[in-house]
Amino acid sequence: MEIKETAVAGTLESSDIQIMISKAATGIQIDLQSDVEKQFGDQIRKVITTTLNNLDVTAAKVKAVDKGALDCVIKARTIAAVQRASQTTDQPAWEVL
């Protein structure tokens, strides 16, 4: 999927993660802010990257503010942000869920 505009999903409340996706020329660039960065930073990045790959997103700038979200939440927020950013909210990517 192609990122067409900036879009956001998620909140800044406890146990959630806020994902902002914007256009990029090439590659996936993740800027992560998390209180548990030391313990789970790599895992959070991995979930975001895998989800983006499953959605065929090859170029994107991701800004994530984590408040202790579980993997399923990270995945859900990433999918929602990508679908909004690619203007495909009317065609849910069921196979990725």
Partner: protein, 354 residues
């Protein structure tokens, strides 16, 4: 329910009174009309009948954020309020947000994804979202081997571009390898941002080592320095200009290898004069400040050239002495657009400020 967020309508006198009383209890006490009037909307959280948290938005700036943590987990209401404000702005496609806050709250904002651009002893200025300052800097044109060159910067509103501005740019261009002219981006002047930018470009087109750049949200913008555009007490001007100067010193100048900032001496504008003093205090030694004496560019009958005077000419339709004050490119533009410019003045555009 806990953390139920509601809209607060400040045009209801009772709501406004409660809101002011709550913020005052948290030591937020500036309710000057020119601050409050800019609020687009305000939200809050009630516990029973008591307001326990609030926040507002004005354009792309979060304002008047106050939270009482009594009886709840520290930070939960703060996160709820900021989260709601941020999401509402994002929903309106405003993806780049700023906040001015007391220094002690800077960390709370950093915890929820804001990054600090500058702070002074009492205040901090942060941004979140995209495009951020790194994106802004990445888009500025650069020359080869810029790090070995002598680079200078000038920030101007140029409302409109005068012979005074021209002289300042010429001086800088003759003394440096490269000069960045940052044009103030905020559209709150008689000449629109696009017009001001084009007139600066046209008026400096013959100078090969000058690059004209949009100042974005980071140089004398409505976000960093609202007092430039609104009449404000000296103390407010000093406080805002300190942050503005530090952003330039800490973020902008190092990225572009700017070692000197040129400013015009300012005999006539109080706000700009304070700004120059603050620049002199804040920028050195990282960035030298060079003040170019304005009296070097008097008109043939010994008047100081100011854009304020040019705007007065436009208002009164006296274009005879215009070319003493502005370069040919600007004069041409004014002659071609006199009627729309005068119409803006008639419609209430303030021309006595900056």
């Amino acid at each position: 329910m806990d953390n139920q967020i509601v809209d607060l309508y400040l045009n209801d006198p009772k709501v406004k009174k409660d809101w002011q009383a709550f913020l005052t209890s948290l030591n937020i006490t500036n309710f000057a009309a020119n601050e409050v009037d800019q609020i687009d909307y305000t939200i809050g959280i009630y516990n029973g009948d008591d307001l326990v948290a609030t926040g507002s938005v004005a354009g792309n700036v979060l304002k008047y954020i106050g939270v009482c943590n009594k009886g709840v987990t520290n930070g939960s209401r703060f996160n709820a309020i900021v989260s709601e404000l941020v999401n509402r702005q994002f929903a309106q496609h405003v993806y780049h947000l700023f906040v001015f806050t007391k220094l002690k709250y800077s960390e709370s904002f950093q915890h929820i994804g804001f990054s600090e651009l500058a702070h002074s002893d009492e205040a901090a200025f942060l941004e979140t979202g995209s495009p951020d300052v790194n994106d802004f800097l990445a888009e500025i044109p650069r020359v080869d081997d810029q790090n070995d060159k002598q680079v200078a910067g000038i920030v101007m509103n140029a409302n409109p571009f005068t012979r005074g501005h021209r002289y300042l740019v010429e001086q800088a261009a003759s003394q440096n390898d490269l000069v960045y002219v940052f044009v103030v981006n905020t559209d709150a002047s008689l000449f629109t941002t696009t017009e001001r930018f084009q007139l600066v470009q046209a008026g400096t087109a013959d100078l090969d080592n000058v690059i004209v750049v949009d100042g974005g949200d980071y140089m004398v913008s409505y976000a960093t320095f609202p007092a430039y555009f609104l009449a404000s007490p000296d103390q407010v001007v000093t406080y805002q200009t300190t942050l503005d100067a530090r952003i330039f010193r800490n973020v902008i100048a190092p990225a572009l290898n700017i070692k000197t900032r040129y400013v015009g001496s300012e005999p006539l504008s109080r706000t700009t004069n304070i700004y120059n003093e603050v620049l002199n205090r804040e920028l050195p030694p990282a960035v030298q400040v060079k003040v170019i004496d304005r009296t070097q560019t008097l008109t043939s009958d010994q008047q100081v050239i100011t854009a304020t005077q040019v705007r007065q000419f436009i208002k009164n339709g006296e274009l005879s002495s215009l070319s003493d004050f502005v370069p040919e490119t600007t004069a041409q533009f004014i002659q071609n657009h006199l009627t729309p410019l005068q119409k803006r003045i008639q419609e209430g555009m303030n021309i006595d400020g900056n």
